[in-house]
């Protein structure tokens, strides 16, 4: 209550003042109650926190880990000069950017009578075991050359913003008219698998995979024995097209990019023009040179190997 004037003091003061501590058992009790409440609250908080004491933290990447590893499968039956040139080409490029290289043999993996072209799948899995902390794994067929060594994989291909501008969305996965199309709204950093498409379908001569649980899943699923034994007309190529079209968890991590970003063809046997190599492109791929009987990959590649050596020496690195 508020009065206009404070209430008057009693005109009969008490004979003695009471000890303040005795006057307030209620206050004391209140304080006790407050403490009790506080203690209960604290216990409850600790109880709650104890349920959420999970372990967190990201993995530690040791220094000196190459950010990217180049994987090329070598057929030991090829001429040794050719093998040397291919390895030189990769090693030179890797040395410029601090990348790692991995050259397994075609016969290294048990494929259960499936065509040798399948070996790229276990080879990628193997590379991820050998380089357990590297981020990107770049597979390049042995019938291709890196022609522009100044381009880095992180910036040129896998960079988030770059990828968001280059990736082809709403594109039929298998040309020309597959009803399964690439997703329209994927963020660049959610992409784990970058590859290109030629006129016939998904090209697996040159692709980049980001290491992680998804990569294991994808490679193991691709390498499934039932796919290998199924007699897909084009082996692992059709197997890949199959899993991409039937399994959304794979399609959701895939980005198609224009062919010339990492897979220019020297000449396209199917007559396409948009993927044909021009000077300055990252990679030249001698696609088809190993398939038709009258072509010889080593012969076809010799002039480009010479050209690559010129580029390498001209830049004067």
């Amino acid at each position: 209550m508020h009065f206009a004037f404070p209430p008057r003091k009693s005109s009969h003061p008490p004979p003695y003042a009471v000890r303040s501590s005795r006057s307030s058992p209620l206050l004391r009790r209140q304080r006790l109650r407050n403490w009790g409440l506080l203690a209960t609250l604290a216990v409850f908080t600790i109880f709650l926190l104890s349920r959420y004491s999970g372990t967190g933290g990201s993995e530690k990447i040791p220094s000196g880990t190459p950010p990217c590893v180049i994987v090329t499968i070598i057929d030991q039956e090829a001429p040794s000069a050719f093998i040397r040139a291919i390895k030189d080409n990769r090693n030179d490029y890797a040395a410029r950017h601090g990348y790692g290289t991995f050259f397994p043999n075609v016969t290294d993996y048990n494929l259960d009578d499936a065509p040798f072209t399948w070996s790229k799948v276990p080879a990628m899995r193997h590379a991820m075991t050998l380089f357990p902390y590297s981020t990107y794994f770049f597979y390049l067929t042995s019938f291709a050359l890196i022609m522009n060594p100044s381009i880095s994989i992180e910036a040129h291909i896998m960079d988030r913003e770059r990828l968001e501008t280059t990736m082809l969305v709403e594109k039929p996965v298998v040309p020309p008219d597959s009803i399964i199309k690439t997703f329209p709204n994927i963020r660049g950093d959610k992409i784990d698998f970058v590859l290109t498409q030629d006129r016939e379908g998904l090209s697996q001569d040159s692709f980049v995979i980001r290491r992680g649980e998804w990569a294991k899943y994808f490679l193991d699923a691709w390498f499934d024995p039932l796919y290998r034994s199924y007699n897909f007309q084009k082996a692992e190529r059709h197997a890949l097209e199959h899993i991409v079209q039937w399994h959304g968890t794979i399609l959701a991590k895939l980005a198609l990019v224009p062919q010339r970003i990492l897979n220019s063809y020297l000449r396209d046997p199917s007559g396409g023009t948009e993927g044909v190599y021009a000077e300055g492109d990252f990679v030249v791929n001698f696609f088809g040179c190993d398939l038709a009987g009258d072509r010889n990959c080593e012969e076809e590649m010799t002039p480009m190997i010479t050209r690559w050596r010129e580029i390498r020496d001209r830049r004067g690195y």
Binding site: P7, S23, G54, A221, P225, L226, Y230, W246, T249
Partner: protein
């Protein structure tokens, strides 16, 4: 007109300041959230900021509301009359006392004469206060008695950060094979009713979610080659429906939870690393080579126990005598389970294997486990009898496999009458297990009653085939 706080409706009619009603409406309409009623009343006012003296729609409405209000208050008025007729011992007796207290606050009043009177008064005050206190305690006890067994406890158990019940979803596959294929007889209905009731009771007790799915063979599937592979679709739908749940427990219809007092948390999930095992060599009816001997794989894929961290377990499967059993299994919501559910059915695999895979998803999962290394580190196995005990007749007629068959003295959690539809009596099994479960979970009062009646019966007649007869008569009623 701007108001510092929102005007509150007065029980005596209309708004706080009736003269300003229309401008208040304007103020409300222009501010935060004009509700349609405001707009309407404004409209009925003529919209012209009419003067407060008019009989407006709003005031008329308020008046009629007042009438209704007072009518509805009748009960409480009655209540008030009741309470006013009760003896009051604080107010009336202490008119002068209250004044006195104001003056000599916190002090013992000396001027009121003797100490005796003071202490008497103090005792009276204490008694009054303690009565209040005891009333409070009594009320609290009442509260506990009324609410502890149901709503409050249920709320606690449900809440994700307390009991965590809402993190679990039980998916029950009902109406198996019904629909297009066959009509259900009374026994089938009874089985379904019992099974569903059992699960409903269980999830209610622990605050879990129950998703009963209709597994009848739908028209949509009958002409499709993927007939009756809907397990994955069903789990996916449940995951969509309960976006905050973490674990999904698939249960076949012919299952019975024998021990509803076991919570999933205490039974399995609080100690996932000890209740489950990842090294399949511990019990390996399929003789799967484990770990893999493919040299190029990463260490975790090659380890027999994955990364040994219980948080990487995404699928918990029991194994019966012939391999994985998907009659009762757990899936965790995760990217991993998205992937396995995506790959579980694949047309190329199906085309090559559908003749061999007569157990459909179960065989397909075994295949994936064997052949795709990424699967293994995330699959854990659970001893069959923890979540999926078999009755005799499944996996051997004797029913004495200590790894597989239900043991009453161990109080196994769940019985799965797997395969009872092939030559066994599903309803009979369901009935006897239900009776057993009820008997095992009696409370002391029921035990006492049963004890009395049993001794009574024992005194009068000697034959002990009551239960058998009971089953028989119940079955007769059904068929």
């Amino acid at each position: 007109m701007s108001l510092s706080r929102s005007p509150s409706p007065q029980p005596s009619g209309g708004w706080h300041s009736p003269g300003l009603a229309s401008s208040q409406y304007d103020g409300i309409a222009s501010s935060a959230s004009p509700s349609p009623r405001h707009f309407e009343s404004d409209y009925m006012n003529g919209g012209a900021g009419s003067s407060g003296s008019n009989v407006t729609w709003a005031s008329a409405q308020a008046r009629s509301a007042n009438v209704k209000h007072s009518q509805s208050q009748g009960f409480f008025r009655h209540f008030r009359r009741l309470s006013s007729s009760l003896p009051r011992f604080s107010h009336q007796s202490s008119t002068h006392y209250a004044e006195k207290e104001k003056l000599g606050r916190g002090r013992l009043n000396a001027d009121n004469g003797g100490n005796l009177r003071n202490s008497v008064r103090m005792i009276g005050r204490l008694v009054r206060r303690s009565r209040l206190r005891s009333a409070l305690i009594l009320f609290f006890l009442l509260f506990l008695a009324v609410f502890y067994a149901t709503p409050v406890r249920a709320l606690y158990r449900r809440t994700s950060f307390l009991g965590g019940g809402s993190r679990f979803v039980v998916i029950l596959a009902a109406n198996l094979g019904g629909g297009v294929m066959e009509w259900k007889g009374p026994r089938e209905w009874a089985i379904e009713r019992d099974s569903v009731k059992n699960k409903k009771k269980y999830v209610k007790r622990w605050g879990y979610e129950l998703e009963i799915v209709d597994m009848s063979i739908k028209k949509k599937y009958t002409h499709e080659w993927r007939e009756s592979w809907e397990k994955v679709d069903t789990i996916r739908n449940a995951m969509r429906k309960y976006p905050h749940a973490e674990w999904f427990w698939w249960l076949d219809l012919n299952t019975f939870i024998m021990e509803p007092t076991y919570s999933l948390q205490s039974h399995i999930f609080d100690s996932l690393s000890s209740t489950t095992y990842r090294d399949i060599n511990l019990y390996n009816p399929l003789n799967i080579t484990h770990p893999l001997n493919t040299s190029y794989l990463d260490p975790i894929s090659l380890s027999p126990t994955g990364d040994d961290n219980p948080s990487s377990i995404n699928l918990i499967v029991p194994q019966d005598c012939s391999g994985f059993n998907l009659g009762s299994f757990f899936v965790r919501r995760s990217v991993w389970s998205d992937r396995i559910m995506d790959l579980w059915w694949d047309p190329v695999m199906y085309e090559q294997k559908h003749m061999e895979w007569e157990h459909k998803e179960q065989d397909s999962l075994e295949y994936l486990y064997v052949n795709q290394p990424w699967v293994r580190p995330h699959v854990a196995f659970i001893p069959q009898r923890k979540v999926n005990s078999f009755p005799p007749g499944a996996c051997g007629d004797a029913g004495d496999d200590p790894k597989i068959h239900y043991q009453e003295q161990d109080r196994d959690f769940l019985v799965n009458m797997a395969g009872c539809e092939w030559g066994r009596d599903c309803w009979g099994e369901m009935y006897s297990y239900r009776q057993l479960s009820n008997r095992l979970n009696r409370n002391w009062w029921q035990k006492f009653k049963d004890g009395v009646s049993e001794t009574w019966d024992g005194l009068w007649k000697k034959d002990e085939e009551i239960t058998e007869e009971d089953v028989g008569s119940d079955q007769d009623k059904l068929s």
